[in-house]
Structures are given as structure tokens and as C-alpha cells.
């Protein structure tokens, strides 16, 4: 079996919280990510789902090298990403791109679309102007836009169109992995379907992989092959997306499914048995971090941290119930 394209191995990220005017004395740590493991293969979509404070944005930043892990390794094509320098680092950067949530902040207001999309090409390649222009037209067509919009400025486009431009930009350099951080949450409902469908088509056509971060389970399940559920910095369950929705094992995943809104008024849903608020990452609960809200917590959950176990092929849970 070949090595997976992206491998996240027991990664931890702690942010220092300091006090002091000149030199920050580290008095506490925000344990944003606490030992996560996952892999992404080529042409695969991994969905990352969780609520505020779960660490999914931090995970994205770690993969994009905006932050360095406090512990653990991230490997791309088998190489440790943290150790990359020079041309190897540039190779990584051209293979891994991102699309953010806010379509209005993602595009530089003073640059034309052509220049926005061509920027990664300018950084990584020595293509001539005309070759770049051609590539820009190519990717614009890939995302379903007419090539002649390349001369316009971002403010002339709607939110959905801007996200397409952002996706086009992310694809410009034969990208292999795109990190999508809530790419459709800020868009209208009817536009969301356009973008999701477009992304799925692009994956089939180009073989690009996605790390899809979202909070709407239905959307994430639709586009993802596998889903990892995060809570307070840890992955509590990961499985194939259809299986996760059909038979969720972890109480938190079950709660997310109950909380997910019905598709039809007749679809009966039980009431949410979850209580309380999400704890702060500054002082996470001991043992299993979910035990303070878990309807099925046992005494063991307060003391022992559950270890992620494979309970079925491709289905892993971190819970003392299993």
C-alpha cells in the first residue's frame, strides 16, 4: 500500500497565554489541538466537523504551515513538512492551497481577477505572460466562469462568484490538496449547492483532494468520503461518511446527528440530551474531555483519557463505551 498523500501523526498545538508588558511570561496554555491523527489520500475528501473551540481551524493552519506543531509530525508524500526548506518547501506550497470562508475578504480589492489567480503562478513558475494568461482562462473555465471576466475587479462579483475565483486561484498550480475552511457557510443556500457540486466535479476531473471543514453535518457528509469529528482539540470519531451518519458511535457524534435539522417535518427526532456549554480550551476537563456533557458518562471517564480504537474497518472511536 502506497503512503497516503497527507499524514497527520499525533500532532499537538498549544498556544501560550502570557502576561507581562515587555516579555510575555507564559502562565497558561491553550491546548488547541491535542494529539490528532488522520490521513488523506489522493482524490479523497476528508470532512472535519466540530463546533467552536474544537480545533479545526488550528488544524487547517498547521497543515498550511501558518503555525508549527508543538509536537507530532505532518507528512506530505512521506516527507516531514516541518523540516522542509527552500525548493522542497515551495513544492509543498504549490501543492497545498486554501479557500477561506469569507468571499469578501479573500480577494485583494485592488487587483484584477487575472492577477489574483496568476499570483501562485508568478511565485512558483517562470511562465511567460501569455502562458499565465492561458492558464488563468483554463482554471476560470474549470470553475464554470467565462474567461473574459479575468479583467474585472473583485467587487463586481457576487459572493458565490468570488468563491469560484478563490477556488480557481487554489487550482492554478496543479494543486493536490485544497483546505476548504467553511467555504459555503457565508453563501446563500441556492449558491451553496452550486459550489458544492462544482467542487465535487473538480475532484472527479482533476483528482484533487480536499480537507473540508464545516459545521453543517449534512453538507460535510455529502462532499466527504470520510469524516473526522472533533471536540475540544481531539478527534473523537472518524469513519466513512455514510457509515458515520447511519451508525454514529460516540455520544458527541450522536448528539450532532440529533442536533442536525430534519429534512422533512415528519422526520422524527429525539430531543437533544446534551447539556451545558462547550468548556474552554484553557482548562479542558480531565479524562475524556466530553464527560462533563455526556449523557452516558461513567466514573471512568473523569479519570482516564480514552484511546482511539478501531471498532470496525475504517471506523475509529475514542470512547470508554467501546
Amino acid at each position: 500500500m502506497t503512503a497516503p498523500m497527507l499524514e497527520v501523526d499525533n500532532v499537538r498545538k498549544y498556544f501560550p497565554v502570557g502576561t507581562g508588558a515587555f516579555w510575555q511570561r507564559k502562565t497558561a496554555w491553550v491546548k488547541a489541538v491535542e494529539g490528532i491523527n488522520f490521513t488523506i489520500a489522493a482524490a479523497e475528501t476528508l470532512g472535519l466537523i466540530g463546533e467552536s473551540g474544537c480545533g479545526k481551524t488550528t488544524t487547517a493552519k498547521l497543515i498550511l504551515l501558518q503555525e508549527r506543531p508543538t509536537a507530532g509530525t505532518i507528512r506530505f508524500d512521506g516527507e516531514d513538512v516541518g523540516a522542509l526548506k527552500g525548493p522542497a518547501l515551495m513544492r509543498y506550497r504549490r501543492s497545498v492551497q486554501v479557500v477561506f470562508q469569507d468571499p469578501f475578504g479573500s480577494l485583494s480589492p485592488r487587483m484584477r481577477v487575472a492577477n489574483i489567480i496568476a499570483e501562485p503562478l508568478e511565485i512558483h513558475t517562470k511562465l511567460s505572460r501569455s502562458a499565465m494568461r492561458e492558464r488563468v482562462s483554463e482554471v476560470l473555465e474549470l470553475v464554470g466562469m467565462r474567461p473574459d471576466v479575468a479583467d474585472l475587479f473583485p467587487h463586481e462579483f457576487s459572493g458565490g462568484q468570488r468563491q469560484r475565483i478563490a477556488i480557481a486561484r487554489a487550482l492554478a498550480t496543479n494543486t493536490r490538496l485544497i483546505v476548504l475552511d467553511e467555504p459555503v457557510s457565508a453563501l446563500d443556500v441556492s449558491i451553496r449547492a452550486q459550489i458544492i457540486t462544482q467542487l465535487e466535479q473538480l475532484q472527479q476531473r482533476l483528482g484533487v483532494s480536499y480537507l473540508f471543514i464545516g459545521h453543517d453535518l449534512a453538507t460535510v457528509a455529502h462532499i466527504s468520503h470520510r469524516i473526522a469529528v472533533m471536540y475540544l482539540g481531539q478527534i473523537v470519531e472518524s469513519a466513512d461518511s455514510t457509515e458515520l451518519c447511519a451508525s454514529p458511535l460516540h455520544p458527541y457524534t450522536q448528539a450532532l446527528l440529533i442536533a442536525a435539522l430534519p429534512a422533512h417535518p415528519d422526520a422524527k427526532r429525539e430531543r437533544l440530551a446534551l447539556s451545558g456549554e462547550i468548556p474552554s480550551a484553557l482548562a479542558p476537563p480531565s479524562g475524556c474531555r466530553f464527560h462533563t456533557r455526556c449523557p452516558r458518562a461513567m466514573p471512568r471517564c473523569t479519570d482516564e483519557v480514552p484511546v482511539s480504537r478501531q471498532v470496525a474497518p475504517g471506523h475509529a472511536v475514542a470512547c470508554h463505551l467501546y
Binding site: 501558518q66 504549490r94 511565485i123 462544482q198
Partner: protein, 297 residues
């Protein structure tokens, strides 16, 4: 289902950008400034006499032409050496505007550069530049300028550089603040993630977006620089005589004001007033113009 979208170019009722700009020009500042600018540019052709030589055939202290004793040959009168006031005012416009403009460019350029470096690079670079700015601000501007002028010797370009060195700090502070917020914008982050070098990010993304603020700041402070130049010439350490400068004219005429030779102080003073007023109004207009447009984007 085909999902090819056509861009909905938001025409609304907006005519092209250029036409919108032209339609809303601020009349008052331009009415004031354009004649001065024209005078400065075409001084050689407009001025009736050589500003540094006494007018042949005219008396000294001749009053303006509408007063008794004045003549139409010297419209605004003559000074203590018999030089034509009008010509001196016209040539003086050249000095004031050039020094004002160039001084602002130097100050703005230095300040913006420091502000960007400080805001974007952060860390000890930021701390160092900020402490430098603090120290510099502690120096009283004019006194510092006089000191520098005395050290390097007065000449027009020296004054330009001196004024630039004195006034850069106000830009640095403001631009740094703007850069700090720009740095967090997603399109900047995107460029960094794509592998852009710091230089590229600064030139391509940060600089164009701070230029607006820099321009507004510049137009608001050009008045300060002009007055500073006038003050320096007034004190005798500005552009050296006989090159005419409005501040110098004020200085020379100071003693004669009480003797009733009012035209030698009122006209230069009025010129300074009008130009500074016009630039302030222009700066205000620019500020309002450029801000909501940014927000519309």
C-alpha cells in the same frame, strides 16, 4: 444542470469610475490651488519683473497701484529694496509649493516605509522602529529643523530633506496601525500560504492598500510643511535670500508693518493662508472620498 454562471457585473447607476470622480471635484480648494500651481510653474513667463533685482525706475516702498503713490507698473508695490512684490509672490509660490510638496513626499515616503516594515515584520524590528519614533517625536519639530539647517547649511534641497526628516513620524504611526490590520486580511494570508516572500506581499498587497491612507495623510499635512518652511525662512534659516519665499518676505517686512507698509506682510501672509487652507480642504475631501469607496468594496 448547467452551472456555468455569467458574472452579474454590478452596473447599478454608477457611471465609470473616472466620470464619477470628475463629477464630484471639490471646487473651492481647486479654485484656490490651480492659480498658485500655474503661477509656480509658469513663473518665468507670468512675473513682470526679476524678483531679485530692484525695479528700474520705481521707488522703494511703493504701495499697491490702487493707493496713492502707487503705479500700475508695480501692481502690488515694492519692498525695501525696490523689488516688485507681485513678482516675488509669484516666484515665492514656486518655492513654497515645491518645498511643501517635496518635503511631504520625503516625509511620507520615509514614514510609510518605516510604518510598513514595523507593522508587517513585527518583533524586534517593530519595537526598534517604534522606540525610534517615540524618541523622534519627543524632539520639538521646528527647533530640530532649525538645528539641522544650521548644521548642514540652508539651501532649497537641504530644507526639503530636513522637513522630510522632521515630519515622517506621523506617517509611521498611522501606517503601522493600518498594516497591522491589513496583515490579518485573508487575501494577505492567502499570499503568504501560497509561498509569497515578505517583499512580494508588501509590494503587491500591503503597499497598494495603504496608499489611500498615506495620500490622505499627505494632503492633510502638506499645510504643516508649508508653514514650517515659511517659519524657517522667517527665522532666516530657510531658503536663503535673495531667492524669494513667502516666509522670508514676512520676515523682511516685519519691521515696516508698524510704519504703515501693510502690503508687504498682508499679501505673503494671505498667500500662505490660502494655500494651506486649500490643501486642508483637499485633504478632507480626499479622506471622505476614499473611505466610503473602500467600504463599498
Amino acid at each position: 444542470m448547467s452551472i456555468t454562471t455569467t458574472p452579474r457585473v454590478i452596473e447599478v447607476h454608477r457611471p465609470s469610475q473616472v466620470r464619477r470622480w470628475v463629477g464630484d471635484l471639490p471646487l473651492l480648494p481647486l479654485i484656490i490651488l490651480v492659480p498658485f500651481i500655474l503661477a509656480a510653474v509658469f513663473a518665468d513667463f507670468i512675473a513682470p519683473y526679476d524678483p531679485t533685482e530692484p525695479v528700474r525706475g520705481a521707488k522703494i516702498f511703493e504701495p499697491p497701484f490702487w493707493m496713492e503713490g502707487g503705479s500700475t507698473a508695480t501692481l502690488l508695490g515694492t519692498d525695501f529694496q525696490g523689488r516688485d512684490s507681485l513678482s516675488r509672490l509669484i516666484f515665492g509660490a514656486r518655492v513654497s509649493l515645491i518645498v511643501g510638496l517635496m518635503g511631504t513626499v520625503v516625509a511620507g515616503g520615509l514614514g510609510t516605509a518605516f510604518g510598513i516594515l514595523s507593522g508587517y515584520l513585527g518583533g524586534w524590528v517593530d519595537q526598534a522602529i517604534m522606540r525610534l519614533t517615540d524618541a523622534w517625536l519627543a524632539l520639538p519639530a521646528l527647533v530640530f529643523a532649525i538645528f539641522l539647517a544650521a548644521v548642514v547649511g540652508p539651501s532649497m534641497w537641504n530644507i526639503v530633506i530636513i522637513l522630510g526628516l522632521v515630519y515622517w513620524t506621523r506617517y509611521a504611526r498611522v501606517i503601522r496601525g493600518e498594516v497591522l490590520s491589513l496583515r490579518e486580511r485573508e487575501y494577505v494570508q492567502l499570499a503568504e500560504i501560497a509561498g509569497a516572500s515578505s517583499l512580494r506581499v508588501i509590494l503587491r498587497h500591503i503597499l497598494p492598500n495603504v496608499l489611500n491612507t498615506a495620500m490622505v495623510l499627505a494632503s492633510l499635512t502638506i499645510g504643516v510643511v508649508i508653514i514650517a518652511e515659511a517659519s524657517l525662512s522667517f527665522l532666516g534659516v530657510g531658503v536663503p535670500p535673495p531667492e524669494p519665499a513667502w516666509g522670508l518676505m514676512l520676515s523682511e517686512a516685519r519691521s515696516t508693518l508698524m510704519a504703515g507698509k501693510w502690503w508687504l506682510t498682508v499679501f505673503p501672509g494671505a498667500c500662505i493662508l490660502l494655500v494651506v487652507l486649500a490643501t486642508q480642504l483637499l485633504g478632507d475631501w480626499l479622506r471622505i472620498r476614499l473611505d466610503p469607496q473602500q467600504r463599498n468594496l
